[in-house]
Structure formats: C-alpha cells, structure tokens
C-alpha cells in the first residue's frame, strides 16, 4: 500500500495532530468503502486450507486489495473537497456474507499549512 496512485500530495495519517504543521481549515469527514468477494476457486482453496490451518493467502490479498480501493475512494473524495491531508484515519471491517467483506475507511479532511 506504500505507493498509491494520485496520493503524492495527499498526506494520510491516523494521527490527530501532525507535528510542526498547523491545520488551517477543517473540511469534514471523508470516507471510502469497498465490498469484495473472491471467485469460487479461491473459496474452495480457503475451505481446504481451513482444515489444516495456516495463512489463507487468498483472503489476505482480497482484503488488502479492497482496503487499497477504499483508500483510493477516500483520497478521491478528499481531493474533491480540496483537502491536502486526511487525519485521524480509521479502518473498519465487517463480513457481510460468506466469503465477502466490507472495508470502510474514514477520516477528517483538512488543509494543512
């Protein structure tokens, strides 16, 4: 998740206060969400791996992909309101169905000096 496209000038952090930088303007809450599922083959692989334990690589990938997508939407929203930073970012995960998960990212859009 290190190099996100379009986020070069957008500072995203889960700190409330960035050391040595003052918040000029608060622009309110911005958010991004993403619901994804893997194809059946991955689900079958995961249920087999579920018998023997260990990491379910397919699901790890699935969740980090959807987190990246949610972050892109958050960044797009923050860009739209004219922010240059999103502070106090939080993640939230909920499983909506077997093999599908909703990822929700939210934070406060601000303009830093």
């Amino acid at each position: 998740m290190a190099e996100r496209p379009g986020s070069e000038f957008m500072l995203i952090s889960n700190l409330e206060v960035i050391p040595d930088r003052r918040v000029v303007k608060h622009l309110g809450l911005v958010q991004g969400s993403s619901v994804r599922a893997k194809h059946v083959g991955r689900d079958i692989m995961a249920s087999i791996k579920n018998l023997f334990g260990g990491e379910l690589v397919g699901y790890t990938e699935l969740l980090s992909e959807s987190r990246e997508e949610a972050m892109e939407r958050l960044t797009a929203q923050a860009t739209a309101v004219g922010a240059n930073a999103v502070l106090n970012v939080r993640f939230s995960t909920s499983s909506v169905a077997q093999g599908a998960a909703e990822i929700y990212v939210y934070g406060t859009a601000v303009i830093l000096e």
């Binding site: 998740m1 700190l15 050391p19 023997f52 334990g53 990491e55 379910l56 987190r67």
Partner: protein, 155 residues
C-alpha cells in the same frame, strides 16, 4: 457411518500433524523477523518524542488472515462444553497479531522509518467454519510511520 468416522479421524490426524507443523514454522519465522525489525519501534503513543528531528508522515498497514486446523477446532468445541481457556484460539490470535505488526514494520522499514506512532489493531472474523466457531481471523495493524526528512531525498 463407518465411512464418516474414518473421514473424521483422518481429518483429525491430518489437521493435527499439518496444523502443528505449520504453526511451529510460523512461530520460528515470527521470532526470526521480530529480531530483524527490532530497530523499527511501533508504539501506541500519539506524541512524538521531542528530539528536534523533522519527519514526514505516511500511513503503513499490515494484514494477515490465519486459520485454525480441524483438530484445534474440535478441541475448542470440547472446551466450549467444559469452559476454561481455549489455548488453540489464543495461539491463533497471537500469531495473527504478531504477523500483522511485522508486516506493518516491514512496510515502515522499506520507507526507512525508525518509528511508527498511534498503532491500532483491527480484528475481524472473516470466514466462519461450520457452525458458530471461528474459522479464521483477519488482523490489520496500522499506524503512522515517521520518516526522517534527511533520508527522504531518495524517496
């Protein structure tokens, strides 16, 4: 009926052998990488130590999905009847949390950051096994990597 019992026993034995082998291997790798990333400090504090250095910030994350094996799940079902500590799930969550932190630290180390502030965990049960038991858990660890400005020229 007999066929079902045989399948159950095979899954128990295979789950126990493969599952404990995978867990031992995972723990070895965790301990080895924990030593490797000891120079990256991850703290839950939100305040920067006042050392006068200037930093840029970047959100770093690490996530992992780990599952328990068939044998441990059966053991947990038994524990559910008699109560008490379910050690098989304790080790599952311990592995998941430590692995997530290590992946987050690896991302921070790639950015040449010595410090990650405001570390938060997020745990979700993503794949339910049969019945109500947890099949597997996903753990996400995230925080703000502080990147010293001096080493930032190459980035």
């Amino acid at each position: 009926m007999i066929f079902q019992i045989i399948i159950f026993l095979v899954l128990m034995v295979a789950g126990y052998l493969i599952g404990s082998y995978l867990e031992r291997r995972h723990y070895r790798s965790i301990i080895q990488r924990e030593a490797q990333y000891r120079n990256v400090v991850a703290v839950a504090s939100r305040q920067l130590p006042d050392d006068g250095a200037e930093y840029t910030q970047r959100l770093v994350t690490g996530n992992v999905t780990v599952s328990v094996d068939y044998f441990k799940r059966f053991l947990a079902t038994l524990h559910n009847i008699f109560g008490g500590r379910i050690t098989s799930y304790e080790s599952l969550l311990d592995r998941a949390r430590r692995e997530a932190i290590l992946r987050m630290k690896a991302e921070a180390a790639a950015l040449k950051s010595p410090l990650v502030l405001n570390v938060k965990y997020e745990t979700a049960s993503v794949y339910k096994g049969s019945g109500n038991g947890i099949g597997s858990v996903e753990v996400l660890a995230y925080g703000t990597a502080m990147i010293p400005k001096a080493s930032n020229h190459g980035v």
